[in-house]
């Protein structure tokens, strides 16, 4: 019996670093991905489109875009859609999220990205607080991870306290309150991001 207690306490000690290790693991992922993205941005051999493709390929493995899309739509919208509409919604909205991310990056070229905090509010949630540091200000950007099976993936990004998912979620709810699923899809089809910026 004594041995069992000893063994259990020994195991408990072993487990705690495993749990703590998750935070460091996610933090390292963010650091690596951010650096990779910044490298692509700084690469003068690539044109804008190629940069975009490289950046999306970089972040794709850690961004759960489908999850972000579903969360943004919410259950009410999702059940109103048929299979075809769901497929269209996912492809349109994921594209929109990606373009929105690239668009944001477009503005911040000479800035540094610092990782300032990592917290684990729940066992299966980790928030990585980063800051875009420029000459005159700092912009806080929080990458929110959840545990998807064995993998930690981003389900939301919060910029200056504004959650991407939450803002889309209430906009979609607003559209569906007065309009139909078709109206919603129509809005997404005429994407604001189609107009080339630079």
């Amino acid at each position: 019996m004594k041995k069992l207690i000893l063994l259990i306490s020994f195991l408990a000690i072993l487990i705690s670093p495993v749990l703590a290790g998750e935070k460091e693991e996610v933090q390292a992922t963010v650091r690596a991905k951010v650096d990779e993205v910044l490298n692509h941005l700084a690469n003068k051999a690539l044109d804008k489109k190629q940069k975009g493709e490289k950046i999306i390929a970089t972040i794709n493995p850690v961004f759960d875009f489908d999850r972000m899309a579903k969360l943004s739509l919410g259950k009410t919208g999702w059940v109103q859609m048929n299979e075809k509409q769901r497929t269209e919604f996912l492809s349109l909205f994921v594209k929109r999220l990606q373009e929105s991310y690239l668009e944001k990056l477009d503005l911040y070229t000479d800035e540094k990205v610092s990782i300032d905090a990592v917290d684990q509010p729940e066992e299966n949630r980790i928030n990585v607080v980063t800051n875009l540091v420029s000459k005159d200000d700092k912009k806080e950007m929080i990458y929110k991870f959840y545990k998807n099976g064995p993998k930690w993936m981003v389900y939301d990004v919060e910029i200056l306290g504004v959650s991407i998912v939450a803002t889309y979620r209430s906009q979609f709810a607003g559209i569906l309150k007065t309009g139909t699923v078709e109206d919603l899809l129509q809005k997404l089809r005429t994407s604001a991001f189609e107009v080339p910026t630079a």
């Binding site: 063994l7 259990i8 919410g74 999702w78 299966n124 064995p150 306290g161 803002t167 607003g174 604001a192």
Partner: protein, 323 residues
């Protein structure tokens, strides 16, 4: 001499000392293997996905990777699996009372419901009709006037100059930041703002430069009356979009345009309202010239511009009040 199999270990032995030693050895080996086993268990593939609408048979505790082990007959466990079972038991022990979320992750995102409940709330918005109109006007005004003027201005004044102008105006607002740090009992913030003001006004030549940040790493600690009121529990009140000034709520209108403004040196400019408004407008144009493209980029995330700007504004204010 038979191998140290389980049967030998568990059977009453003719060689008590040897058994004891073997047990010890096993314990040591197990302890040494544990980190690896735990790691392996942690990174196991999750249980096979369930169909979206599949009804949960009964509430039960499930953990990633339990399926393959449960499927096996008792007594066929290998040493590795024993380690895994042990780990599961411990996991259970650690997370008692929690239903594992990965097991239900294909049910429609119910695990995220609480997190976005705030976004789902119907917000009271008595001025929505007027606000929408005013948002349209401000949006038009930005692209028709402010943006072109600020862009033209960038051709006249180089970035360094514009940044200095911005620094100068920011430095002037020291009384606002100082007072509101004090009013929120943020002594550190008040002290830091004082240090910044002293350094930037002297070494930074009347605030044209920001050596406090560049050389001493002292960052601005902006606070305003809207935040102070929020800090002391004054509710935001209805959302109001002001002409030219954009999204606001009642609390911030009171805080920023009736209280803060009295701590803004420009308010006391002897030139009267013409000079004061002239300076405020110039300050705004200068600021915009340093942030060209940001509004364009921001508004692309909007499907409904008014609602988007309103929610973004309120969320940002809540965050600032919390800080």
């Amino acid at each position: 001499m038979p191998l140290a199999t389980d049967s030998v270990m568990l059977a009453p032995s003719k060689y008590p000392l040897l058994t004891k030693m073997l047990r010890r050895l096993l314990l040591i080996v197990l302890s040494l293997c544990l980190p690896t086993l735990l790691q392996a268990a942690w990174q196991q593939e999750p249980a096979p996905k369930r169909a979206i609408a599949a009804p949960t048979p009964e509430p039960q505790l499930e953990f990633p990777g339990t399926q393959p082990i449960r499927a096996q007959e008792a007594g066929q466990y290998s040493l590795l699996e024993r380690g895994l079972v042990l780990d599961r038991v411990l996991h259970l022990w650690v997370t008692t009372g929690q239903v594992d979320v990965t097991a239900e992750r294909d049910d429609f995102d119910s695990e995220f419901d609480a997190e976005f409940a705030k976004a789902d709330e119907e917000k009271s918005d008595p001025l929505a009709g007027y606000n929408r109109l005013m948002t349209g006007f401000n949006d038009w005004m930005y692209f028709a006037i402010l943006d072109p003027v600020a862009t033209g201005y960038t051709y006249v004044v180089p970035e360094g100059g514009r940044r200095s102008v911005d620094n100068f105006f920011e430095n002037l607002l020291f009384p606002v930041r100082f007072a509101n740090n004090l009013l929120q009992a943020k002594m550190g913030g008040a002290a830091q703002e004082t240090a910044r003001f002293t350094l930037n006004t002297t070494i930074g030549i009347l605030g044209l430069f920001d050596p406090a940040q560049a050389w001493f790493g002292l960052e601005a600690r902006p606070e305003d009356f809207g935040q102070t009121l929020g800090y002391w529990g004054v509710p935001a009140g209805p959302h109001i979009v002001l002409p030219f000034l954009g999204p606001n709520n009642l609390r911030d209108v009171v805080g920023d345009y009736s209280l803060d403004v009295r701590l803004d040196p420009i308010y006391y400019h002897r030139g009267g309202p013409e000079a004061q408004y002239g300076l405020w407008i110039y300050k705004e144009v200068n600021w915009t010239s340093l942030h060209l493209g940001e509004y364009d980029s921001l508004r692309k995330d909007a499907l409904d511009l008014y609602q988007f700007l309103r929610d973004a504004y309120e969320a940002n204010r809540i965050k600032k009040i919390k800080e």
